[in-house]
Structure formats: structure tokens, C-alpha cells
């Protein structure tokens, strides 16, 4: 027969966890009892009533388990490459951007710069001044990438002629989309819109896109989730370090690119361009994570975060159990390392949909797998190890496929729980690139950032109102 109370009274030497008064933990240690002390702190201010309501919601435990199970089970295969007008029904004159919705007046420099570049690229204006005037006059429509099941790094601006990777989650019958990566330096996603930026976009549209499309359609689909799992064991974290992932992706794409119906010069340039870009894979990892978080979205009663995204002005989150609502706060400015002569004053507040990687359990959450990244984003290796381990406090589960060798192959912390964030005050750790504050500058550095804390109590209140 089972002993009552799970055998509490027959335990040889019961082990005790404590929270609150330290004296009690000390008194137990004085009796040579095994004690695990929580470093307990009060939750975020003014959240007690909402916490009690949400934690008392009988649906929550199962809802979160469901959301997490879907998130970790979602597949991600690269199945197609198409122009945005075909893939997303993106009409001429409409532009997608990163982060939560925002109007022109409140946009930061890099987002404005990227939109100017996209207007020029689409041939909707003759020069930057004209483009800016038209944008400010409200002649074009803006919409978050997330509203069309897409994601875009940094400014994340997508226009109808741009080519998009199409990833499919067979398990949940879903597609997500992401633009092609332009490489580093002066690029549209960092707000640069000079002639070399627009010229490159045209080349990508005319040459690179069709070659990639042929490669994927002929030799694909390619399992992106499997590459993610492998690259974490090769020193990448999938957000700011994508070296192994980019090489593995190229290995998959090469045969189809080389045999594509295009001139050998164009093929050579497409291959060179793809191989030279160490963030080539980022634009595949992001939609893969988007598929995972989409799968977890829409579970009634679930407090799991399914979107974290920034537009350079606001940080926004969406939560599985609160539908399409965004909960926003002012975007923080990353701290980290700067390129060349740039310094903290040159950096724009946090921008981009790439925090979808952290939302899906990689990026900053897998930092322990990528100790070399501290040379790029700042911090030290001990910090990288601790950052991942700290995230277990605010996540629902440990990813069954994404594993961290140095943590004894522990799964990455996956499925951010709004309740845990509010209770502990621990904010999700995001690794990110830094855009220049002034439109047209481009990338100025890379670093570490956290969401605006106020997003989480706001999301909690919305969850509480739905109990």
C-alpha cells in the first residue's frame, strides 16, 4: 500500500525547500538537514490580485502544457521561396515591418530608413526626400510582419517584390515566411537606403530569389528544425551566431543552386553571396521559431508568450491565451560591443522580429551553447552559462530537440510563462544586433537586451480578465 502524503513520514531524512525568512533555512542547516533556499523576491508591483486570479485558473496548467507541447512539436521545413506579393498577398503600396503596430510619426530612424529604401526599391518614389514625404503623408500602408504569419529581422521591412522563404509545419498545417538575408554592413534591415542597398535588393530579386526558388523546389524540402538542433551543438545560438547553421543550410541548397537554370556567373555570385554571409541562416531560424510559437498560440487559459517583437520604438508581446492583443512598452536600448568608432549614443532602441528565436527557446535562451558569442554581444562565458540557466525559472519546459551540450545536453528553456516573469521579475534574455539611431547608418554593434518590463503585468491583467 502506498504511504499517505507521498511517504512524508517515512522519509529517511526529509529535504526542505525554503522561501522567505533566512533564519529558518539556517536553523535547518544547523540540524544538518538538506536545504534548498529560494532567493525569493516580491513579484512585480501591483500584480498580486492578477497573479492569484491567473494562478487559480483551473485551465492554466493544462493549457500551458498544451501550448508547450505544440511549440516543441512544431516542425519547420523549407518548402518554397516566393515573392511577398504571391506568398503573403502583399499589395503594392503596403509594407510590412518588424514589431508591434506603429504609425510613421513614432517610428525610429532605422525603421523610417528601411521604409524609405523599400519605397525606392519598389520604384514608388524617385529619391529619398520624395519617398519620405510620401510616407509621412500617409500614402502607403504599414502592417506588422506578424499579422501575416511572417517575421523580419531588425527593421523587418518587406515589400511586395521581395523574395521570402516559405517554411511549413506539417504537424499543425501552417506556413510562415521570412525575407532573404542581405548580409552585413549597410543593409536595408538596419535602416540604410543608399544606392548600394537598393541595387543589392534588385539583384536579390532578379537573380538570387529565382535561383533559391529552383533549388528548394527541385531538391527540397529541407528540415530547418534539424539544422537548428545540430547548430546548437556546434556553438551557435541561432540568433546572433548562425555560422554552423549557415554552412549546413548552404550544403543543402548548393546542389540545387548549381544546377539551376541561370547563367554560371549568376550562380557563382549567388553561391558566393550566400556563403559569405554568416547570418544567412537567421532568416530560416526565425520563421522556424515563428511556426513553433504560432502552434502554441490561441490556447485558452495559457499564459505562454507566443510573440516578442520590437519596432525600434516599442517592445511588444503576445500571449497564447489573449488572442491578437499586443502588450507593449518602450523598447530598451541594448548594451554590448560596438563596431568601429560607434558608441552607445549611436545605438537605436531594440528593433526586429528576431526575438522570435528567444520566444521559441533559442537565441539568448541557448546562450550557454554558444560561449564564443560573448566576443560579439559582450558579457563573459560564465554569464552565457548563467543566462541560459536563469531562463529555466521563467519557462514551461526544456526543448526535446534543442539541447545544450555543456549543460549535459539539457533541453533549452522553452515557452516563456508570463506568470513566472511577473513573479520573479526575471526578464527574457535577448541577444541582438544594434542598429544606428540615424536613418541610413546601418549596424553599429551587437549586444544584450531585455523586453520592457511593463509588457508582462499588462499581459497578466488581460489573462486575469479572461479567467
Amino acid at each position: 500500500m502506498n504511504q499517505p502524503l507521498r511517504g512524508l513520514l517515512s522519509a529517511e531524512s526529509p529535504s526542505v525547500a525554503t522561501s522567505g525568512v533566512q533564519l529558518f533555512a539556517d536553523a535547518l542547516r544547523g540540524q544538518a538537514v538538506e536545504v534548498t533556499e529560494a532567493d525569493w523576491q516580491p513579484p512585480m508591483e501591483g500584480t498580486e490580485a492578477d497573479l492569484a486570479r491567473v494562478m487559480g485558473d483551473a485551465r492554466r496548467a493544462e493549457a500551458n502544457a498544451t501550448a508547450y507541447a505544440r511549440m516543441s512539436a512544431a516542425g519547420a521545413e523549407l518548402c518554397d521561396v516566393k515573392q511577398a506579393k504571391d506568398a503573403l498577398d502583399l499589395e503594392r503600396g503596403t509594407f510590412l515591418h518588424a514589431g508591434p503596430p506603429i504609425e510613421w510619426e513614432r517610428m525610429s530612424g532605422p525603421l523610417k530608413g528601411a521604409l524609405i529604401g523599400a519605397v525606392l526599391f519598389e520604384g514608388l518614389a524617385d529619391n529619398a526626400e520624395e519617398a519620405e514625404k510620401a510616407l509621412a503623408a500617409g500614402q502607403f500602408a504599414f502592417e506588422p510582419c506578424h499579422h501575416r504569419d511572417a517575421v523580419g529581422p531588425m527593421a523587418g521591412v518587406v515589400s511586395p517584390s521581395m523574395w521570402m522563404y516559405g517554411l511549413r509545419d506539417e504537424a499543425h498545417d501552417a506556413w510562415s515566411w521570412c525575407s532573404l538575408n542581405e548580409g552585413l554592413g549597410k543593409v536595408l534591415r538596419y535602416g540604410a537606403y543608399g544606392p548600394e542597398v537598393v541595387d543589392r535588393l534588385h539583384w536579390m530579386t532578379d537573380v538570387l530569389g529565382p535561383i533559391l526558388q529552383q533549388s528548394v523546389r527541385v531538391t527540397g524540402p529541407f528540415d530547418i528544425k534539424a539544422i537548428l538542433a545540430q547548430m546548437l551543438q556546434m556553438g551557435d545560438e541561432g540568433h546572433n551566431r548562425n555560422r554552423a547553421g549557415s554552412l549546413m543550410l548552404l550544403r543543402e541548397l548548393l546542389p540545387g543552386m548549381i544546377t539551376a537554370d541561370a547563367s554560371s556567373t549568376d550562380i557563382a555570385e549567388a553561391v558566393r553571396f550566400s556563403g559569405a554571409n554568416e547570418h544567412f541562416f537567421l532568416n530560416l531560424g526565425m520563421p522556424a521559431c515563428k511556426l513553433a510559437t504560432m502552434a502554441a498560440h490561441g490556447v485558452a487559459g495559457s499564459s505562454i508568450v507566443t510573440t516578442m517583437a520590437r519596432n525600434g520604438t516599442d517592445f511588444g508581446i503576445r500571449v497564447s491565451g489573449t488572442g491578437d492583443a499586443w502588450f507593449t512598452g518602450p523598447a530598451n536600448t541594448p548594451e554590448g560591443l560596438f563596431l568601429g568608432d560607434y558608441g552607445p549614443d549611436d545605438a537605436n532602441p531594440d528593433i526586429g522580429d528576431s526575438a522570435i528565436t528567444e520566444t521559441g527557446g533559442i537565441g539568448g535562451f541557448a546562450m550557454a551553447a554558444a560561449p564564443a558569442i560573448v566576443k560579439f554581444v559582450g558579457g563573459d562565458v560564465a554569464f552565457a552559462l548563467q543566462a541560459t540557466q536563469r531562463m529555466y525559472e521563467i519557462t514551461q519546459g526544456e526543448h526535446p530537440m534543442f539541447q545544450v551540450p555543456i549543460l549535459d545536453f539539457r533541453g533549452t528553456p522553452t515557452g516563456i510563462d508570463v506568470v513566472s516573469v511577473v513573479r520573479t521579475g526575471i526578464l527574457p534574455q535577448i541577444n541582438t544586433g544594434m542598429a544606428g539611431r540615424v536613418a541610413g547608418t546601418g549596424q553599429v554593434g551587437a549586444g544584450l537586451v531585455t523586453p520592457s518590463a511593463e509588457c508582462f503585468p499588462a499581459a497578466l491583467a488581460a489573462l486575469a480578465s479572461r479567467v
Binding site: P4, L9, A11, V33, E37, P42, L385
Partner: protein, 498 residues
């Protein structure tokens, strides 16, 4: 000329016991006249204001106030520096090794990290339900020391615990002993055949100490929280605890200790206990029911054991019995001991005013003052918000002892002192000084003030029963292990005009 400084540190949380130590360290700095480091709860702001500090309205319960009044700017700076050093010293060091995991941040996370069977929660009451619910979800039994938890939340927690086959001990549970491990306030006693279920912390300590004096040990003592035997809770934890002890090989009989229970709950439990197959004894206080000592004496007889003479240490300068005019003033840290003293005293004295009154119309006002018979429980919820329990922080009671000494309507002072794990490490010296000062004050006013101490402890306790008793007796107090005997002794002084 003095300098006053008040710092409010937003969102810097520390527990009340730690802050008590920090306040003391700060107060001992040269040149510092008054110092208090506390979370800005309503009660603490009141105390700080009473100390002459001006606390800004913006300070909330999650903010730390560092208040100091000192001779000059340098002494203020030295005091604040001492407080900062003490705060730093108490902060938990992060993991020792390179890149080790940071410490767990919630109770449930600590339960999972340590594979703990028991979660001991002493966070402020308004956060306690959340932590406890989560720990239950992680599969641990919970000892909930926190008070100021609503009865609705208590029922919610206990139902969740029953569903998960774990036990909620509490809220406001100060005492448990499980498998020889003392949780919270508990005395050092031998292992033995008696299992205890306690809806009362100091009541449980009184019983285990009397058992110890009778040479009988305990198997386990499971706390259930002081309201468990009220109808609103319906004995939910008591039932689970009885079943667990009945199934335990080391336990041959059970004693249930409780503050005054609701009759129908007690009746239900008695009938439930009748089917458990081992003797269950009841030491449940209440009008017309035996006091704890008498109940335990009956248990010992029923178990076929000898009832010893309970230890006492009498003062040699007490006044004659019946010679004292004025009223009974009982100043307690233990709620059950206060309850028991009131029940015994009411039989002889009639109405007794209290912050935990036997009848609602006997409640004291917020100043806790009355010219008549008064018993105060300084451990009650209303007096512990944002403060450590008086068994750890005796400040409020010490202040009241000296106020009573100066009050001509105070005829006899009845105090309790509880030893053991969790309690003040050397409470006797400080209390003896207060007793001596009280007697001197009264004497200067032409009165002889008898002081009686109900001392709950064992020789095995870190503070030592006899050592503590002798220190108090040397200060002029009469000391009793039995709270009943202490109360009766106090009552014996009061004269006919009471």
C-alpha cells in the same frame, strides 16, 4: 543638534528577520540615536513615524526604508554604511563554481532543484498563497509560516493539497517536527511513540515540552494551522495528518492540540479518529474543557505513564498571595498560551480584554489599552505585518512591559517565553533586564509588582531550560514550565478588590 535621514530604496526586498538584525547593527553604530531598516508596510511606517521619522507617501510595501537619526552627518553616514555592509553580508551568495546555475527564485523551483519533500514558506502573507499553490503543484508538502492568509485561500490550498496527496501545515503554522527535523519553532525532544497534530504552534511546543519533562518522546508533530478546526476549514488538514500518523510505524498514539475548535468540527474529527485503530487524545482548549497541562496529564495516565511534578522556579521576593490590588496583565508571544491563560483567568476574574478576545465585545481598541484585566498576543496577525514574530523580535512586547510597570492598575505581569529552534538565541538576558527594570519602576512608585513567566522549553534546547529559568528567577520572576501553573500562580496574587 541631530541629523535625520530617510532613504527609500525602491524594490529592494529583504525579510523582516534579516532587517531586524540590520537595524540592530545600524543602531549600535557610534553616534546613532535611532535607526530602523524596514519594508515600508503600513505597520512599519506607523512605527517609523512614531520614532519621529518622516516617511514619504511614495514608499510602498515592496520598498526598503533606511531611517537614521544621529549626532551629526558623519554618524549618519557611518550608520548607513553599517546597514549597507550588514545587508550585503546577508545577501545569498550566488553559486560557487564557474557558470553555476543561479539560485532558484520561487519555492516550487527550489522544490524541484532540491528534490524536496517539504516546502517551508515564510514570505509576506499577501504573496504566500501563490508560493504555496505552486509548491503543492511541485509535489511538496507545505509548512506555511506566513500569516495574513485569508480563510478562502486556506481552503483552496488545502483542497489542492488533498488532491495532490500532500499536506498543508498552516497558514500561520510555526511548529512542526517531521522525521526528527524541526521546522520553524520547535523544541529539542527525544524520538518516541506519540504522534502530534497541532492546530496551534505554542500549544504544540507546550505539549512536547511537558512530554519531554515526563520522559516521553514524539514521533512527528504535524502542524495544521490555527484555523483548521474552525468550521470554515472543517479540519481538512487534521484529517490528512491523522491518517498519515495512523499509518506510521513509529506512532502508537496521537495527541491533537488545538486552539478553541468549533464543536461540530471536533465532533466530526472525533468520530473519524475512532476508526483509525489507535488511541487519539484531544488537548483542545475551550471554555469548560481541560487546559493543556490537565489534558496532557490525562493522556499520560491513559497511556499508563507517571505524571511528574512540573518544573518550577519560584521567586523569593514575591508578595503574599491575595495581597496585590490591580489587574492581570498577560503579555504573550504564543497565541495558544495566551488563549489558555485567558480561559483559566476568566474562570476566576470574569471578563478579560484582549486583541484575541474570548468574546467579540472584549476586543481591545487599536491602542491595546484597558484599566482592567488584559491579555495580549503579540504574535497575532494584526501585530506582525512586515515585522518578525515576537519570538524573534521582542521589541513591541518589551515596550509594553515597561509601560505596564509604570501603570498603577497593573497588579501582576504574566509573560511567556518559548525556547527551541527558530526562537531568539539568548532571550533570557534581555527579558531578565526588562523584568528587573519593571520591578524597580513599580517599587519606585511604592508597589511590589510580581512577575510570572511561563517558560516553554527543554534541556536539549539550544538556550537550555534550567539555565534560562535561573536567569529569569534571579531577576525576580517566578518561572513555570506549565502555562497552567504559571497562570494560576499569577492569579494567586490578585486581592479581593480585583
Amino acid at each position: 543638534m541631530t541629523v535625520t535621514q530617510v532613504d527609500v530604496r525602491k524594490g529592494a526586498y529583504h525579510d523582516s528577520v534579516t532587517l531586524l538584525q540590520v537595524s540592530r547593527t545600524m543602531g549600535e553604530t557610534a553616534g546613532v540615536e535611532a535607526a530602523q531598516v524596514a519594508m515600508a508596510t503600513e505597520l512599519n511606517v506607523e512605527v517609523l513615524t512614531g520614532m519621529g521619522f518622516d516617511i514619504p507617501d511614495t514608499a510602498g510595501p515592496n520598498d526598503l526604508v533606511v531611517a537614521v537619526r544621529a549626532a551629526d552627518d558623519e554618524a549618519v553616514a557611518a550608520g548607513v554604511a553599517a546597514a549597507d555592509a550588514a545587508l550585503t553580508a546577508t545577501s545569498r551568495a550566488p553559486g560557487g563554481g564557474f557558470g553555476d546555475a543561479p539560485p532558484p527564485r520561487t519555492t516550487a523551483s527550489a522544490v524541484r532543484a532540491g528534490g524536496a519533500e517539504i516546502a517551508m514558506i515564510s514570505v509576506p502573507g499577501r504573496f504566500a498563497t501563490t508560493e504555496a499553490l505552486d509548491a503543492i503543484g511541485a509535489g511538496a508538502s507545505v509548512m506555511l509560516f506566513s500569516d495574513n492568509v485569508s480563510v478562502e485561500d486556506e481552503v483552496l490550498l488545502k483542497d489542492a493539497a488533498a488532491a495532490a496527496d500532500v499536506l498543508v501545515m498552516g497558514p500561520d503554522c510555526g511548529t512542526a517536527v517531521i522525521g526528527g527535523v524541526a521546522l520553524g519553532f520547535a523544541n529539542v525532544v527525544d524520538a518516541g511513540p506519540i504522534g502530534m497534530v497541532a492546530a496551534s504552534g505554542t500549544g504544540a511546543q507546550q505539549i512536547m515540552c511537558l512530554l519531554d519533562a515526563a520522559g516521553v518522546g514524539i514521533s512527528h508533530c504535524l502542524g495544521v494551522g490555527g484555523r483548521d478546526l474552525k468550521s470554515a476549514v472543517g479540519g481538512r488538514s487534521t484529517r490528512q495528518a491523522l491518517a498519515a500518523l495512523a499509518a506510521d510505524d513509529a506512532t502508537t498514539s496521537i495527541v491533537v492540540v488545538s486552539k478553541p475548535p468549533d464543536e461540530e468540527v471536533l465532533a466530526d474529527l472525533e468520530s473519524y479518529a475512532g476508526g483509525l485503530g489507535l488511541p487519539v487524545h484531544w488537548a483542545t482548549l475551550g471554555a469548560g474543557r481541560p487546559d493543556l497541562t490537565s489534558a496532557l496529564e490525562a493522556v499520560l495516565r491513559a497511556e499508563g505513564r507517571d505524571v511528574p511534578g512540573w518544573p518550577k522556579w519560584l521567586s523569593d521576593n514575591d508578595p503574599e498571595p491575595g495581597s496585590v490590588s490591580g489587574s492581570l496583565r498577560g503579555l504573550f508571544c504564543g497565541g495558544t498560551l495566551a488563549d489558555e491563560a485567558m480561559l483559566l483567568a476568566a474562570e476566576e476574574l470574569g471578563d478579560i480584554r484582549s486583541n484575541i478576545p474570548l468574546r467579540d465585545d472584549l476586543a481591545l481598541g487599536s491602542d491595546l489599552r484597558s484599566d482592567g484585566h488584559v491579555v495580549i498576543d503579540f504574535g497575532d496577525d494584526g501585530l506582525t505585518q512586515g515585522r518578525a514574530h515576537p519570538m524573534i523580535d521582542p521589541t513591541l512586547r518589551m515596550e509594553r512591559i515597561s509601560a505596564e510597570a509604570a501603570d498603577p492598575t497593573c497588579g501582576v505581569l504574566l509573560l511567556d517565553l518559548v525556547l527551541g529552534y527558530g526562537a531568539h538565541q539568548d532571550p533570557a538576558g534581555e527579558l531578565a533586564d526588562a523584568i528587573r527594570a519593571a520591578k524597580d519602576t513599580a517599587r519606585a512608585d511604592g508597589r511590589e509588582l510580581p512577575v510570572v513567566v511561563s517558560l516553554t522549553g527543554t534541556e536539549g534546547d539550544p538556550q537550555g531550560l534550567t539555565r534560562t529559568a535561573l536567569t529569569l528567577a534571579a531577576a525576580g520572576a517566578s518561572v513555570f514550565l506549565s502555562n497552567r501553573d504559571a497562570t494560576r500562580h499569577a492569579l494567586s496574587f490578585l486581592g479581593g478588590d480585583r
